[in-house]
C-alpha cells in the first residue's frame, strides 16, 4: 500500500517491463511527461509507443539484466534520453527533448526468478544545460567567439587518433593575419580587436560545420579540416585567402583591407603524430610569410 503510493509520488519516471517488453507498470510521472495514461499503455509493447527504444544497446542491456540480474546505467552523455518527452525551454538551452539519466534493474518473484525489469528515468535537463554553458565558456575564445587553443589541441589529438584508427583523411590549416601589428599601431587596439573578430567571422563562414576553427595565438588561427586530403584543403585555404583579401572591413566608417598567409598540411606517411601535423603546417606558414605573404603554401 505505502510502496504503491511512493511509486506514483516520486519525482522520477518508473516503468516496469515484462520479458516481452510489454509495459506492466507506468507511474504518474511517466503519465505526466508522456501524455500517455497508464491504462492505455499497460499490457502493450513499449516499442509500439517508443520505437526509438528498439535499438541494439537497449535490447542488449535488457537481455543482460534479465539474464544476469545486473543493473544498467544509461548516462545522459551517451544516450541523451530514453523517452522523447518535451521539455520546458531553459534559458540558453537548445534541447528538443528532456535529457534523462536512466537506470535499469531486475525485479524478482518469490522464487527469485527475474520476471520483470524496471526503468527509472531522471530529468537532468537543467543540470546538462548548465554543464553545456560552462563547457562553452571553457572552450571558446572570449573575443572572437570561435574555439580557443586548449580546445583545438584536444580535438587535434582526438582527430589524429581517429585518423590512426580508421585511416580517415585529415588536414590542418594555420593562418596568420599579415601586418597585424601595423593595424593596431595605425588604427588602435579597438580596431585590431574588430579586425580579429571580422576575420574570424569571415573564415568561419567559409568553412564547413564539421571543421574546427580556433584562435591559436594573438593573430594566429588554426582550422582542422576533417575528412579532407591535401588538394581539398589547399582549395579551402585558397578560398579563405581570396575572401579575406577581397573583403573590406568597416571600422567606424574607416574601410580597412587586410590579408592572411596560410600553411597547409595533411596526414601522410611521414606524419606520425598530431604534433608533426601541426609542425608541418607551421613550417608551410613560415614559407608563405617568407614568400611575400597573402599566399598559401603546403
Amino acid at each position: 500500500m505505502i510502496f504503491n503510493q511512493i511509486f506514483d509520488m516520486v519525482n522520477l519516471g518508473l516503468v516496469i517491463l515484462d520479458k516481452e517488453y510489454r509495459v506492466y507498470k507506468w507511474n504518474r510521472w511517466m503519465e505526466l511527461h508522456s501524455g500517455i495514461e497508464a491504462e492505455k499503455i499497460t499490457g502493450q509493447p513499449v516499442f509500439d509507443f517508443f520505437p526509438n527504444l528498439n535499438n541494439p544497446s537497449f535490447l542488449r542491456n535488457c537481455k543482460s539484466v534479465f539474464t544476469f540480474g545486473n543493473f544498467s546505467f544509461f548516462s545522459q552523455k551517451l544516450h541523451k534520453y530514453f523517452f522523447p518527452f518535451k521539455t520546458e525551454t531553459l534559458i540558453g538551452s537548445t534541447f528538443e527533448y528532456m535529457q534523462q539519466s536512466c537506470t535499469m534493474g531486475p525485479l524478482r518473484d518469490a522464487d527469485n526468478n527475474i520476471q520483470y525489469i524496471f526503468l527509472s528515468v531522471q530529468d537532468v535537463t537543467e543540470i546538462v544545460a548548465y554543464e553545456k554553458q560552462l563547457f562553452m565558456l571553457s572552450v571558446k575564445d572570449g573575443l572572437t567567439g570561435i574555439y580557443n587553443r586548449r580546445y583545438f589541441e584536444r580535438r587535434l589529438k582526438e582527430e589524429f587518433e581517429r585518423h590512426l584508427r580508421y585511416r580517415r583523411p585529415l588536414s590542418l590549416i594555420i593562418l596568420d593575419i599579415d601586418f597585424f601589428k601595423k593595424i593596431n599601431d595605425k588604427f588602435g587596439h579597438q580596431c585590431g580587436d574588430f579586425i580579429l573578430k571580422e576575420i574570424s567571422r569571415t573564415i568561419s563562414n567559409n568553412l564547413r560545420k564539421i571543421d574546427i576553427l580556433a584562435r591559436y595565438g594573438g593573430e594566429e588561427f588554426c582550422c582542422l579540416i576533417l575528412e579532407a586530403q591535401l588538394p581539398s584543403a589547399l582549395i579551402i585555404a585558397e578560398r579563405l585567402r581570396k575572401t579575406v583579401a577581397e573583403s573590406q572591413f568597416n571600422f567606424k566608417g574607416t574601410l580597412i583591407k587586410s590579408s592572411i598567409s596560410l600553411g597547409v598540411s595533411s596526414v601522410q606517411n611521414e606524419i606520425n603524430s598530431s604534433e608533426a601535423l601541426l609542425k608541418k603546417a607551421d613550417v608551410a606558414l613560415y614559407k608563405a610569410k617568407e614568400n611575400g605573404r597573402n599566399r598559401v603554401e603546403s
Binding site: 543482460s64 544476469f68 540480474g69 545486473n70 544498467s72 546505467f73 581517429r162
Partner: protein
Amino acid sequence: MKADHSSALSTEQKEILQEVMNIAFGKASADLADIIDIYVALSVPNILIMPASKVKNYIENEVKDYGIIDIVKQQYWGEFKGIAFLIFSSGAGKKLISLFQKNENLSFDSEPIDAMEKETLVEVGNILIGACVGKLAELLGDILTYSPPVAMIEQKPADSISKNTFDLNCTAIILKTVFRFENEDVCGNLFLTTSNKSIHWLKKALNKILDEYE
C-alpha cells in the same frame, strides 16, 4: 592480535569456491555469447587470500605490464559484497567503441572521443562485471545490488586505486580472471575483492554446496 589471513577459508572451501567460479564464469561467458553476442573468453580464475592492506599493491603489480591503464570500478552488495575492478591496458576503450556501438546511430561530432570511450567502458564493465559477479552470486544463493560503475581512462595503476578503498584491518579474498574479447584485440583483468565481512556468509554458502555434493 594479528589476523590469521590464511585460515580465512579451508583448503576444501577454497577448492569448492574455485569450482563454483569455474562454473559461474563458464556460464557467464556462454550467456554473454548466446544472449548478447559478446564473445569473451574468461580464464580459469585464481583465488587469493591476503591482508586488505596488500590488495592495492597486489593489483598494481598484476597490471604493471600494461603501463597506463583504463579501469572500471563497481561495488556490489548482498550477503556477498565487495568491489570489482576491470582493468585494461590504455586505449582498450577506444577499440571497444566500435564493438559496442556498431550500427548504432551515435553522433561522433557531438561527443569527444574520451567521453565516448568512458561511456563504452562503463557499459562493457557493467555487463562483464554483472555477468561474472551475478552468476557467482546466483550459484552461491545470493542476490546483489550494484552501484553505477565508474570508469577512468589513461591512469597510472598507482593513482587508480585509492588506499582508502579497503578496510585495512580486514582480510581480503581476491578472485582474479583474465578475459579476452574474441575477434577484438582487447584483453584485461577482472579482480573481485571481498572482505572478511562476507567470509562468514561465504563459508556457510560453500559448506552448503559441499553438503549437497556429499
